[in-house]
């Protein structure tokens, strides 16, 4: 059921921009045709999902979907939010747990400065208003992996509010254009992570590991400004890149460092919003878009069949179970103008200072790459999409005299292609930036042809410790530098294949390629095809 929707979207690798079919469709008003009840009986599987970029057939209903996200990002810190136990992904069960994390009586929370800085930096990067005073609350619920029976969070007055996250989508086809969409960030709050439970249904018991309990989380609430799975996935991808650039979270979904819950509802354009349902704990980017689209389709089908959308998780007022955290006074933040004099710098957080220290954000980096190196936006997206690739690219640029466009092409096509084929990360590449730079220099100087360069690259990948120059020498891949030798070879080839020459003279333009191929073979691939063509044409016309 989800498949038709994704037809219009970019398959495979997801950049921080996407082909979006849905966005362009649902923003239209209600269909101008007569309102129809006639389609009721039709099977909803046969009907096309209307909110894809397809012209609705006359009289068919149109639906708009609305998607909001709640994202939990694990803060990259050495120790936990309120205790000094270690934050680490894999460790023996319950070995990274302090007395406070285990909720033993008499323990108290002590706030980790690094976590506050992470929250402020993330808020600044998302253009939020940073609340100079924020409060901590307890959210009570019973679950085995929450030993205290409550989670310390910031419901009433979070640390950052009212920001926005911009992401790029490609709309339309031939020509397509890049459009920037934004989603409002309602708030960012600090909260504790819970432990992990393993359900043993066989023995009707639950096994609890508290290593994760108390790790600092940033909860980011994104308003329902998105309209389909692809937009949501793109927004999440951009957020991942931002968090990684800031260093506030590694945001690795597979390791549970970034968890997304989606709130989804559908309605007819022009009518009020429908009932929301929640799709929880999405922890893979690929699955995220699919699951959201599936739920949208499910709701549409349900409503078109005369059913009702039931909200199963939030049947009651969610404000129950909150109380202020009595053990923590308000969190106060300062800026350069309001710093208390004589204060211990360790105890004071200066928002202005953090703002100055913000690193370059992905959006700015991409724009800079396009400006500086004349590459297409898709290329800059691709460079940022792979961990370490941008750094690799910049190191090659530094060391080579070749044109940036050549470097871009080699890095994104050849180099990345080799990596993907062998399922390697950039850090595992046997080819260093220097090696590639040297190779590109040889190519730039026209010392070798581009096909020879590819051969050299393959050799380099085998990592025998040889430099490109050495490989070229060994395999005799240098381009024929002696023009006289080339003239000689061309002439002898023409003489040896008179019928091909006749063919060419008779008007078969493609015969020249055969001649070029013959000369190339004679030169053992050491001549540049364009040079060969030039010489042959000159000789033929004389």
């Amino acid at each position: 059921m989800a498949a038709p929707m994704l037809r219009w979207c970019c398959p495979g690798r997801r950049f921080a921009f996407a082909w979006v079919g849905c966005g362009s469709c649902h923003r239209r008003g209600p269909p101008t045709g007569s309102t129809s009840n006639g389609k009721r009986g039709q099977s909803s599987v046969a009907q096309q999902p209307h909110f894809t970029a397809q012209k609705p057939r006359e009289g068919e209903h149109e639906w708009a979907a609305v998607v909001g996200l709640e994202i939990h990002a694990q803060i990259a810190s050495n120790s936990k939010l309120f205790s000094g136990s270690q934050v680490h992904f894999a460790a023996p069960p319950n070995s990274l747990v302090s007395f406070f994390d285990a909720s033993l009586p008499g323990t108290l929370p002590v706030l980790n400065r690094r976590c506050v800085e992470a929250a402020v930096m993330t808020g600044l990067a998302l253009d939020c208003h940073i609340n100079r005073k924020s409060l901590f609350d307890r959210k009570h619920y019973f679950y085995a992996d929450l030993p205290a029976g409550y989670q310390i969070t910031q419901q009433r007055l979070p640390i950052a509010v009212n920001g926005s996250l911009a992401y790029s989508v490609c709309v339309g086809r031939k020509p397509s254009r890049m459009v920037t969409r934004t989603v409002r960030v309602k708030q960012i709050q600090l909260e504790q992570d819970s432990g992990k439970s393993l359900h043993d249904d066989l023995r009707s018991q639950t096994l609890i590991d508290l290593n994760r309990a108390g790790i600092g989380l940033l909860e980011l609430v994104l308003e329902p400004d998105m309209s389909c799975g692809e937009e949501a996935a793109t927004a999440v991808r951009e957020l991942q890149l931002i968090l990684q650039a800031l260093g506030t979270s590694q945001a690795n979904m597979a390791e549970g460092q970034l968890r997304v819950d989606a709130n989804i509802s559908v309605h007819r354009p022009g009518e009020p919003l429908g009932v929301r349902t929640e799709v929880k704990n999405l922890n893979s980017a690929r699955f995220l878009a699919k699951a959201i689209d599936y739920e949208i389709q499910r709701q549409i089908n349900e409503l078109e069949n005369g059913g009702e959308i039931l909200n199963e998780t939030r049947s009651f007022d969610n404000r129950l179970g909150f109380m202020p955290e009595p053990n923590l006074p308000p969190l106060l933040l300062y800026d350069s103008g309001s710093l208390p004099s004589g204060a211990d710098p360790q105890q004071v957080i200066n928002v202005d200072q953090l703002r100055e220290r913000l690193p370059e954000l992905p959006r700015v980096t991409r724009e800079r790459l396009v400006r500086q190196y004349g590459m297409l936006p898709e290329h800059s997206c691709a460079l940022l999409n792979e961990v370490g690739l941008l750094e690799f690219f910049q190191n090659v640029i530094k060391e080579t005299r070749a044109e940036p466009k050549k470097v871009t092409s080699w890095v994104l096509n050849t180099f990345l292609g080799f990596l993907k084929q062998r399922n390697l990360a950039v850090s595992e590449s046997p080819v260093t930036p220097s090696a590639l730079a040297e190779l590109l220099d040889l190519l730039d100087r026209k010392a070798i042809s581009s096909s020879a360069a590819k051969q050299v690259f393959e050799e380099l990948w085998r990592n025998d410790g040889k430099t490109p120059a050495q490989i070229v020498a060994e395999k005799k891949l240098e381009l024929l530098q002696d023009p006289e030798a080339l003239e000689q070879l061309c002439r002898s080839t023409l003489e040896a294949h008179p019928h091909v020459v006749m063919d060419l003279k008779r008007g078969n333009a493609r015969a020249i390629n055969k001649l070029i191929g013959l000369v190339r073979k004679a030169t053992l691939g050491r001549a540049d095809p364009t040079a060969i063509k030039e010489v042959l044409e000159r000789q033929l016309s004389s």
Binding site: Q86, A102, L111, Y143, A144, N281, G321, M323, P326
Partner: protein
């Protein structure tokens, strides 16, 4: 601790949503509706099994309502006795943990260094089946 939170929540909800307010009835004999009881049972895992228990709950609410007799106009609520203190920030270093054995000794049942979770007051089957995956 839990009771206090439940109480605060209940009063907030009661005042807001369910129209149950003892301001109208100073003797505090308002009825606590069935839906609310069910919801509270789920949240607190306490079984308000009998009518007697519900009656006791209502009496407890009414008793606490007598706080309203105090005039708190223009007085900011105190949320923490630490309200005049600065919030201490610790540096991000690892100084505790690695005491699994000690912690596990507190648990009645242990399986290979995992705590084994006991069931709640109400058996899991009665609680919403989706509970493990849908937390508010």
């Amino acid at each position: 601790m839990w009771a206090r939170a439940a109480y605060l929540g209940l009063r907030a909800a009661a005042r807001g949503r369910w129209g149950f307010t003892s301001k109208a009835d100073p003797r505090g004999s308002g009825r606590v509706k069935g839906e609310l009881i069910q919801h509270l049972e789920r949240l607190s895992l306490v079984d308000f099994g009998s009518q007697e228990a519900v009656a006791r709950l209502e009496k407890a609410i009414a008793f606490a309502d007598r706080l309203r007799a105090v005039n708190t106009d223009a007085v900011e609520p105190m949320e923490s006795v630490l309200e005049d203190r600065y919030l201490y920030l610790r540096s991000d270093s690892v100084v505790e943990g690695s005491c699994a054995e000690e912690l596990l000794q507190n648990s009645h049942r242990v399986v290979e260094e995992y705590f084994v979770a006991p069931p709640g007051n109400i058996s899991w089957s009665k609680v919403d089946e989706k509970q493990p995956f849908s937390r508010c």
